[in-house]
């Protein structure tokens, strides 16, 4: 019930078109890059998907994460803007259900965005590199990994958005977090576990062990943020 309600809430806010457009924009990046300077990449001896992701994923992930931050701020802005959240709080449902409804919607939109991007990567590897049957499996693996690592930042930005009543505060904190993520050194494993830095990771070319660690860390972060949100809502409710 909560999920379909969330879908209705974002209907006229431009949320869905923004995600579709953002996904398309990120999907254009590898195509443009290959169209303009394919000679830089064709000579490299590696799996096509890995070459493409190494060349373009930083920018695509950046677009994705900015989209997530803006989307999360918007979702809670519709609640806070005209005190709609107070009406939601009077309903006989838990306030945390609101949050998890929004998480579900965000998850769905992340999947949509990643499917668009995966299609573009698959197209690039078929068009500029030789087509093999392994490409699809590779793309699926990479984008499944990307989805899992994207979730902590999605939950994190929704958490920030639910804490702050004003949109610019949550957007400001989100932007600062994204900026921090771009400044973190990539060599350090502990620092790259920062939720907003995780989406920049690439599956292809990462040792299986490290990838596994990242996935475990992502799951742990998701659980921690979920618990933190529930606790925060309980505390805030008791002080209101």
């Amino acid at each position: 019930m909560s999920f379909s309600l969330e879908c209705k809430k974002v209907k006229r806010t431009g949320f869905t078109p923004a995600f579709l457009f953002g996904g398309l924009l990120a999907a254009v990046v590898p195509v443009l890059n290959m169209a303009v300077r394919s000679e830089n990449y064709l000579g490299i001896h590696a799996a096509p998907v890995q070459i493409l992701l190494d060349a373009n994923w930083q920018m695509m992930a950046m677009l994705n994460i900015l989209l997530i931050v803006a989307g999360a701020c918007l979702m809670y802005h519709t609640e806070y803007a005209d005190n709609a959240i107070q009406k939601m709080c009077t309903l006989p449902i838990k306030e945390s259900k609101l949050f998890f409804g929004k998480v579900t919607l965000m998850l769905l939109m992340c999947i949509v965005v990643l499917v668009i991007e995966a299609a573009s990567i698959a197209f690039c590897s078929c068009h500029w590199f030789e087509m093999t049957s392994e490409v699809w499996i590779e793309v699926m693996k990479n984008f499944g990994y990307a989805l899992l690592l994207m979730l902590p930042s999605a939950l994190g930005s929704l958490f920030i958005a639910s804490v702050c009543k004003n949109m610019w505060v949550s957007l400001g904190i989100g932007v600062v977090c994204v900026f921090t993520a771009t400044m973190l050194p990539t060599r350090s494993f502990v620092l790259s576990l920062f939720p907003f830095a995780l989406p920049f990771q690439i599956f292809a070319g990462t040792a299986e062990n490290t990838a596994c660690n990242f996935m475990i860390a992502a799951v742990v972060e998701i659980i921690i943020i979920g618990i933190a949100e529930v606790l925060f809502l309980k505390v805030r409710r008791s002080f209101e």
């Binding site: 923004a18 004003n166 505060v169 600062v176």
Partner: protein, 256 residues
Amino acid sequence: MKFFSLVSIEFKKIRRSKILLILMVAAIILWLPSIFNADLNFGMQAEGISPENNFLIQGFMGMAWFMFPASMVVSTVLLNMTERSNKGILKMLSLPIATAELCLAKFVVLLALAAFQILMTALMYFVSAGIASQMQDYNFILQPLFVFKEAGLIFVSAIPMLAFFWLLSVCIKTPIFSIGIGLASIVPSVLIINTKAWFTYPMSYPFFVITSEYGKLATNLDTAQVEFIPWTPVAIVITILCLSVSCLRFGQAERR
């Protein structure tokens, strides 16, 4: 009402918005990696840049590429939301004030926020350079005049970009689109500064200017230099165009 008092009223409106705190935190976070990685500044012989110059320019490049434009997008959201959240804009529009002046007053506030953030970055530079000097036993602190000249260059070159962001937030009523377009337009500026048509893209100006300063300071590095002739007229035209369109469009949706 005089323009000056309009501007001071706009400042009063954002007094409790905590935006200065956000801008300051961003400026502090910017310099943290520079302090921890201060020793890397000594390995720049290939570029031919002195460690203290490298320390300053790397920090400023980090600011000009993402943090500063993104913070300015947040500031435009703030300026718009304070008016729209409780229909304050309707009260403002009912006053006998020219809407264009109101729009320009808000733009002046945006310029002031931009100046504040750049100033904070410059001040934090001195703090972090002092800390790095203590840690590395090497004087990283440059002449204040030089630092403020670089900071001023970033500010002046950012004015067309600010005008464009202001246009976005005035003309596009759906918040997610104005924010999304603003943030998404920052990302490709890294690519655009390497093309010949960089001067048509206002979001890349601050980054381009600071990159060319890097090229000047690093003797062995050959970055594209600022050419004033196509750039200045184009920048002025973009600024005037963005500002005049936003002045025309300001409050239109509410007055219908």
